[in-house]
Amino acid sequence: MSFPNPATSVKLVLLGEAAVGKSSLVLRFVSNDFQENKEPTIGAAFLTQKCTIGERTIKYEIWDTAGQERFASLAPMYYRNAQAAIVVYDITKPASFIKARHWVKELHEQASKDITIALVGNKYDLVEDDNEEDGLRKVSVEEGKGLAEEEGLLFFETSAKTSYNVNDVFIGIGSKIPETNAGNGAAPADQTGGEGRIDLTSNSVAANRAGECAC
């Protein structure tokens, strides 16, 4: 704590269906890079990045979770003490939007009450040149916005490939994180104590979700 202007640490988790571009979003944000065929994330990946918003410096500690259903039982471990979450879907894949809905619901039920959530529709690059109805876009901006307003989320459409809007997501989240968190020196210790535990009670969560996903 010898820094003149200590950075606010923000624990952030990414959730969303497989292959919607979670890892790519983070890679763009952290390294300003993009890989066309990125290996699927297994379990979760950890990354950090600092982000300056006005006077404040926010240090994001990012848990980029695996999207495949089979790994979903690990997710509570990562979102339980997160201050922020990004729920990602692919605007060309309607199923991924349904999945995003589920994640938002689960976060509201299970995660910390004051968590800041951003809903992000990714792969905007695929629909940039879309004509009205015959394009690749399968989830409209309105649908996304609608869900965000309903649930009180930030909303963005992004492209990790072109970097369109990516930083805005993190800046948006950062400005919504209450300043008071800056002094939460004690909180991280608390968090790390809890986050890693394998919570056997999460059975029920996973079971619920499995039920929902029979659709």
Partner: protein, 648 residues
């Protein structure tokens, strides 16, 4: 004598781990004390040889190492003595663990073809200490100067042998072939080992080759005059005087024989012998041999046998494969998915059919499709549409046939070693066929071919066989579109079945909640807490949880942490540990892997640790790093296996 015999075998057995320590101790922190012990023992015995009376010598012999005991018996010239010593090795044989342990260390030793032993005699000391070299030379010159009796000299050189043996036997592959056939004068070739350089220098292997290696290399020949000649043979570069005296016909013959044995004694030859010998392949021997790595050319065949896909009974091999490959095709036949790339997925073939199982299949296929595209994205072979189509078929069929787990990310990675090894094998078989114009050569090789690949052939296969570039093809430059449909189907089927066999051992890893992985992660933690308390305390104080970094290690069997060639080498050992290599033993390997970085990790904080472990610096790793890791894992398994069992 009976007592002594017992003592010796005990020493040997007790020291079974030390073989490994001796070999690898320089690197592993925990092993270093063993290494110290070992070298201490070695040098003291040497000293005794040099400067003390034979009485002392004998005393020390009996108390330190079994091998030295041999030297003493030699001095006494007592046949009964000798007999009793020779009879000790069976005690070794009884303990497969010790055998295994020994051969662990051996793994580097026989990589390449073998130059004749004398090549390494003169300048061989890059590894052995100059002290030894000098010692050897001086012994020789003293002897010849004084006109000392031959036996005397003989004894001394033997003592040298003994000493160096201590070191080099750990490298040598003692126990592998049990067959007790010709052991004879050549035994004394152990002396060549004295001057052996690094592992892949080969003359050492001439000794290994001997059919009854325990006897031969641990207890070099008791009998023979040839012993003296052989030593002179080996000394001739450093001691020309002596050389003159003894270079006779006998020498020459011994030399010839050495060369011959050298050539035979590549790892390849051992596998070949085992795989072509009887009508039924000895799976136990094959496992032992495979633990230390399988020669590239024989890997496909050996893996298929180790996995139980290819029967050990040769008369059943061809028919079994035929049936299995047919089954695979029939399995694909009932699937409604169109695997061909160009079909732009959705809404095509299945739209007519009704139910939800179809849409589930489509969802599954979609997942597999996007993952196959990003499987080994940096390796050229996996970029070809043909490769990707094969992987899609294999993974999809496996997933629909295993609904309890279905397709789980990571299985796509596990599929790739099989695919590329079987593809590689086909290329190799073609190359061998082309090369083997000579009927004999060809016939020998045919026994090492996986049945069915070359039995019949169509135009495309003929074209490939006559491809002027055939001999230059490797996995790095081969275009799978050159394969015929028949061959593609065979490679897919073999991959499918071998993948299935592999996954049978770890089904718990991929079912709901992945209990197998959770268990392994917990076991890893328990294990580390026993092996490296400091590390676990540090991880705890930083709040790092094992599941955060080791989940992936279990889910993908370290395939994301290591390059494919290294993974393949690792699987040689895993497969020879069947059925538990991929779950139980893997945890010990993960422990060895983590502890490799122990000192780095202890300097890092939470974030640095996780970032480090997500991308561990293994880029420069070679096979020997893997083998070291496997050896360490093996030690820990033998130390802690039962301890962790009762915690479960």
């Amino acid at each position: 004598m009976g007592k002594k015999k017992q003592e010796m075998s005990q020493v040997y057995n007790n020291s079974k781990n030390e073989f490994i320590f001796g070999e690898n101790g320089g690197k592993g922190k925990h092993l270093s004390s063993f290494l110290r012990n070992l070298s201490l023992t070695g040098s003291s015995s040497t000293a005794s040889v040099n400067s003390k009376s034979s009485e002392n010598y004998q005393e020390i012999n009996s108390s330190i190492y079994g091998t030295l005991g041999y030297g003493s018996s030699k001095i006494n010239g007592s046949q009964s003595n000798a007999g009793s010593i020779v009879s000790t090795p069976p005690a070794l044989g009884r303990s497969p663990t010790s055998q295994r342990a020994v051969s662990v260390g051996a793994s580097y030793s026989h990589v390449t073809a073998t130059p004749p032993p004398e090549a390494s005699v003169g300048g061989a000391n890059s590894r052995t200490s100059p002290y030894l070299h000098n010692h050897l030379g001086s012994t020789a010159s003293t002897t010849s100067a004084s006109g000392g009796s031959r036996p005397q000299y003989h004894r001394r050189s033997h003592s040298n042998t003994m000493y160096r043996d201590l070191d080099d036997d750990w490298d040598a592959e003692l126990p592998i072939e049990g067959a007790a056939s010709k052991k004879n004068s050549i035994d004394n070739r152990t002396l060549t080992r004295l001057t052996q350089v690094e592992s892949n220098s080969s003359s050492r292997s001439s000794i290994n080759l001997q059919p009854s290696p325990i006897l031969d290399s641990l207890y070099p020949d008791l009998t023979i005059p040839a012993a003296a000649t052989a030593s002179s043979l080996n000394l001739n570069s450093s001691s020309p005087k002596y050389n003159k005296e003894s270079m006779d016909v006998e020498d020459y013959q011994a030399k010839l024989e050495i060369n011959k044995l050298n050539q035979l004694n590549t790892k390849y030859a051992k596998f070949k012998t085992l795989l072509t010998g009887d009508s039924s392949i000895n799976i136990t021997d094959l496992r032992k041999l495979s633990w230390n790595g399988i020669p590239q050319e024989l890997r496909a065949l050996t893996w298929q046998i180790l996995l139980g896909y290819l029967p050990t009974n040769k008369s059943r091999q061809a028919s079994t494969l035929k049936r299995k490959r047919q089954e695979y095709l029939e399995g694909l036949g009932v699937v409604t998915i169109d695997f061909h790339e160009s079909a732009p997925s959705n809404n095509s073939s299945t739209s007519l059919s009704n139910n939800s199982s179809n849409s589930r299949d489509k969802q599954l296929y979609h997942q597999i499709k996007i993952d196959v595209k990003r499987t080994n994205p940096t390796i050229k072979l996996y970029g070809y549409p043909e490769t990707q189509e094969s992987l899609r078929k294999i993974l999809f069929l496996w997933a629909v046939r295993h609904p309890a787990s279905g397709y789980v990310q990571g299985i796509n990675d596990l599929c790739t070693p099989f695919y590329q090894i079987f593809l590689n094998n086909y290329i190799w078989q073609l190359q061998r066929t082309k090369m083997g114009g000579g009927a004999v050569e060809k016939n020998e090789d045919v026994q090492l071919f996986i049945p069915g690949l070359l039995d019949e052939s169509d135009d495309k296969e003929q074209a490939l066989l006559n491809d002027p570039k055939l001999m230059t093809y490797t996995l790095d430059n081969f275009d799978p579109s050159l394969l015929s449909g028949r061959i593609v189907a065979i490679i897919e089927a073999d991959t499918y079945w071998c993948l299935s066999r592999l996954l049978e051992n770890i089904t718990d890893n991929y079912i709901h909640e992945q209990p197998g992985i959770i268990r392994q992660v917990n076991e890893l933690r328990t294990l580390i807490s026993k092996i490296d308390l400091e590390l676990i305390n540090h991880l705890d104080s930083e709040g790092v949880e094992f599941i955060q970094f080791s989940f992936r290690w279990m889910n993908c069997l370290l395939m994301r942490e290591l390059s494919i060639p290294l993974v393949i080498r690792m699987w040689d050992t895993y497969l020879s540990e069947t059925p538990l290599g991929f779950n139980i033993f893997h945890v010990y390997v993960c422990a060895a892997f983590l502890i490799k970085f122990s000192s780095d990790l202890k300097e890092k904080d939470f974030q640095e640790i996780l970032l480090f472990l997500q991308n561990p610096p293994t880029g420069h790793w070679k096979e020997k790093d893997i083998e070291l890791m496997l050896s360490e894992a093996f030690i820990w398994q033998s130390l802690y296996k039962h301890a962790s069992a009762h915690l479960r």
